[in-house]
Point group: C3
Chain length 313, copies 3
Amino acid sequence: MKNFIQLSDAQDLGQLIQEALKLKKEPLSFFPGSGKTLGMLFFNASLRTRLSTEKAARLLGMEVMSMNVMNDGWALEFSDGVVMNADKAEHVREAAGVLSQYCDILAVRSFPGLKDKEADQKEQVLGAFRKHARIPVINLESATAHPLQALADAMTILELKTRKKPKVVLTWAPHPKALPQSVPNSFAQIMQKMEVDLVITNPPGYDLNPEFVQKTPVLHDQHAALEGADFVYVKNWSSFEQYGQVLTQNPLWMMDQEKWKLTNEAKVMHCLPVRRNVVISEELLDSPHAVVLQQAANRTFAAQAVIKNLLEA
Amino acid sequence: MKNFIQLSDAQDLGQLIQEALKLKKEPLSFFPGSGKTLGMLFFNASLRTRLSTEKAARLLGMEVMSMNVMNDGWALEFSDGVVMNADKAEHVREAAGVLSQYCDILAVRSFPGLKDKEADQKEQVLGAFRKHARIPVINLESATAHPLQALADAMTILELKTRKKPKVVLTWAPHPKALPQSVPNSFAQIMQKMEVDLVITNPPGYDLNPEFVQKTPVLHDQHAALEGADFVYVKNWSSFEQYGQVLTQNPLWMMDQEKWKLTNEAKVMHCLPVRRNVVISEELLDSPHAVVLQQAANRTFAAQAVIKNLLEA
Amino acid sequence: MKNFIQLSDAQDLGQLIQEALKLKKEPLSFFPGSGKTLGMLFFNASLRTRLSTEKAARLLGMEVMSMNVMNDGWALEFSDGVVMNADKAEHVREAAGVLSQYCDILAVRSFPGLKDKEADQKEQVLGAFRKHARIPVINLESATAHPLQALADAMTILELKTRKKPKVVLTWAPHPKALPQSVPNSFAQIMQKMEVDLVITNPPGYDLNPEFVQKTPVLHDQHAALEGADFVYVKNWSSFEQYGQVLTQNPLWMMDQEKWKLTNEAKVMHCLPVRRNVVISEELLDSPHAVVLQQAANRTFAAQAVIKNLLEA
């Protein structure tokens, strides 16, 4: 593995998940990172990703240097050929080149602006770091993908599934703000590679990018979709078709205990942070059916497996 | 010890102070933190607390991960049963649950708002972390208490006292902004457990919460209180009675060299940061009577003793 | 060496540069920092300086604690004798005294305000830390000097020079904002100690402080200056004479491929961050003549040599 920008960067995704599950049992067995440094760049807020990735790197023996780009460093320019006489003080070409000399792996979080579909789809920020860095780059959630979250989610489903081919439902839920499609994109993508029966449900106008949906059935009837589900992954996203728009906040799409009764005693998943009583009802979230903390715990070992692979490449 | 939220969390406060004094002599003797992680969450500014606690944890072999919650993470909701459709993206239940999986001890700084007496008195923020975290929680200064500062202060008095039962005066001093009562609360509390003759002096309207004053004499005449003092702890706080108000900035209450002459060559203490020529005169602060740097130095070993106890519990 | 505030703090500058070059080859050979802590205080943005200095300290075995003073800590007062009843909560006397107890070396970045020439020239911020700290202080770029950058620049020239006494041209370039003179000051200073033929070129009104220019020829004709240059150091600075002013942004002073043809196949240098197509043309910056990344890489080992010297003093 040379980078971990998207799930397809893993030669063998199943093996990577198995390695993460193994590391969870023996997190302090391998130190390929001794004497090496992980650089982490945050263009956006982060709690789980920041701490679990830092922890993963240290478990492997690495040093970690983190920067909140917006507060600590210089405003970065990403376009080529620009006369830089405005507010951007440094070009990503130099920044990535310099960071490549201080670090052994670079991890970057950069959310989409959700205004310019084309710029977001071509992953302007992460793409520039991948292009100009001379060291492996890890995606800590980009404009279109959150592969570390997807790995942790896959681990959680493997840990908890009670039948060979469980039914997994990815359901849209309401939210007051426009959120990226990165988490549902990567979740759909990893589920499509696993032995599960995946169904996506969302209101009309909220269908995900067809490249990520592939042949997965998309239902606009949430109740029908939830029927018999073993896992329900709840998540809001903004419209891909009417790009970045919040078309509805219809509270009838919130996941709650009533709807849970339609499922096969499903485990309820969410990547966090979650807005209680908006996305998922408090009652359901505080019930033993919710496995959101287990997902979060798995983030450490997903990151550890990825970093270990990059170090050993 | 399971948490260190308030001084009463220590089974034996005297022993804890003695252990801190011992660690000061041999800070690199114990490594119970090896392979473990301290998470530090700051809702407010910090210099001494941040650095001394980080240093203490590293002296014990721990890794440290710090977050400025306001800048780095998600706005947190602390109320239960809320429909989270406004500006708060994450509930403390999830945040504390997640942090409990990445860290072995959690340390939290959260000052009072000084607007809502009831909310502050019930320690809404720190209380929520204590309730929802599954790991020990350390108070890095909360709405009503600053027990790590009190430990360091007690160490300083033990190191410097020249008679068996010294007279210790806690005196209010003026300040342009409304400050918490946490430092004087915890200082009064720890002094009440020690073999000292404690007196509190403040203007009318500034009496501390009776729960912290207990039977300590409170004088509204600063000169009378200072008479014969061996230690003078100077500190501003906002009114508890007229909650959070600045009732006076009377400069006659500033501690200075003239008033020092009333004392028994007292050592002058302050938790820092201190506003020069407002709280304490520059002349006195720069004299050998001021022991504020010694107090600050002791913060490291107070934190080290607390963390060591939590790790070994 | 007791501090590294300016280049003259090094007893033997040539030896320090040689040591840095040696460390570049064997960065993990010396651990004099084991059990010791570097404190880093940033009053301004930083990428290279922050990460290379942190990395250098860790290579020597040190722990590192960083603070963005403006966001994380208390607003600092630097004047003596002030009644601190306004917005500054802590005096540098206490801050420096406290930090001296938690850290073994203190590193500080503080840019000039570029409003008050006298205050900037006397290095109010860094000078106060040097005066009140009880541990060695490192300059991470101050109002008038950036000696760590100068060390890395000198290393780069030694690594790349092809004749005994190369011609080195320091040329002003346009920039939309007022920048400090610290980088050109320190670069001129270190070049004056080396076996090079140094020439400075800048528009009228932009002559540097005569204390740093010394006897170096200053040409107001850029083309004449560039003739036959082996190294061209490009950098903007604001006017010293009309202090802190941007007198011109004349694009004719930008360094580009055309002007490069006047040189002796010069290596093109810049401290970064650099504004493309304003300071240096993209074409030249992306050509093999530009050695800006090598300069940035050398920052780590320059810092390592300085820290090693301070630890061993």
